[in-house]
Symmetry: C2
Subunit: 215 residues, 2 copies
């Protein structure tokens, strides 16, 4: 089967924001509270580092555990990797995820600023510039026949949607309003001309899972 | 995380039957029409051998593609492997699945009748007797730290439920009535004392996905 370009478990507010304004080292999601935005995923057994005895193994968990299923590489925006803007001044920064990042595949960080690749556990981070199509070509080739996950944030997913390079999306819409920040959409209906679209509410967490795939 | 014992993508009729009466070589599901019972899965992109351009990549597909996710071994009942009853007389029979079975992990077929193991592509079939707990011990040990899938049919899943050896179930209830055959349950509510239970309807296919996990 042809390699797919997939958005997985990306969470936005009811008004379409993936993060609030004012990202910093202390607040990777800016004004947004990631504990509130991501509560649905944090309550599942398959969330890395979670797996408490009372965790859900229902619908939310099935979607969380699809995160790495068949994935061979990830592309992420620079703001997902770091709160830094401009040329890299601190090469000691290696992302938010500690010594064992939850990716386990090559990660391509989109940035206009050069930086050498590095490896943490089984995840290698590469820093690449260029148009979405060029970055995607590198990721597809590194994926060993697997799919490529678009890891976010909203801006970088938006860039791939605008270039019509996305095959399928799972976006969880959380019952919170942010009002400002990094926006994926005003409404998912914006994509209905190009994507099939199912809405699956989770009674357990209160999020609505939007599953979209190319027409 | 501890190894889980999982039922995945097991489909029953609205009245709880996994197969009709009268299994034969020509009718692996007996009186039941597998094309009707399994229509929801056959319409998805992730169903092995499917992947047509118009296939669904919605909820049904997410659940189909979870089939092998994290699985290290499968246990199946003798009737899933073969329509044969009694001692093996035809060792040329190697299951319904052709040269490349869709399991890709060791498979333990529960039978009272001895038969040597054999391998097709990356799937090895072992033939084992004993109580569910004894068979499970062998499968857990062969799973390399992965989960064990209970592949069905209904009778063998029932035996593991009765022995309280099942951690999670995904059962799709199809909008057909069979009236007789191999029965999983009268109603999933029978399990509510031991399992959390979510019902997730698929608007696309008309099946209701039941997700259950141990309390």
């Amino acid at each position: 089967m042809a390699q797919q370009v997939r958005v997985q478990n990306f969470t936005v507010s009811a008004d379409g924001y993936g993060a609030g304004e004012g990202q910093s080292l202390e607040r990777p999601f800016g004004a947004a509270d990631p504990g509130e935005l991501m509560a649905w995923a944090l309550a599942t057994a398959s969330m890395p580092g979670m797996g408490r005895l009372d965790s859900s193994r229902g619908l939310d968990d099935r979607l969380v555990r699809d995160f790495g299923n068949g994935i061979g590489a990830e592309i992420m925006g620079a703001h997902k990797f770091s709160p830094h803007r401009g040329p890299w001044t601190d090469l000691e920064w290696q992302g938010w995820w500690g010594e064992d990042p939850p990716f386990h595949v090559p990660v391509f960080v989109m940035t206009h600023h050069e930086r050498p690749s590095f490896t943490l556990s089984d995840t290698t981070f590469h820093f690449v510039s260029g148009e979405p199509a060029q970055v995607l070509e590198q990721a597809l080739s590194a994926a060993g026949g697997g799919d490529v996950r678009l890891g976010g944030g909203a801006q970088s997913i938006r860039a791939f949607l605008d270039a019509d390079l996305v095959d399928q999306l799972h976006v969880a819409v959380a019952p919170v309003e942010l009002g400002a920040g990094s926006r994926l959409w005003t409404s998912p209906a914006e994509l209905d001309d190009r994507f099939h679209h199912e809405e699956v509410p989770s009674a357990t967490s209160g999020v609505v899972h939007h599953l979209l795939w190319r027409r």
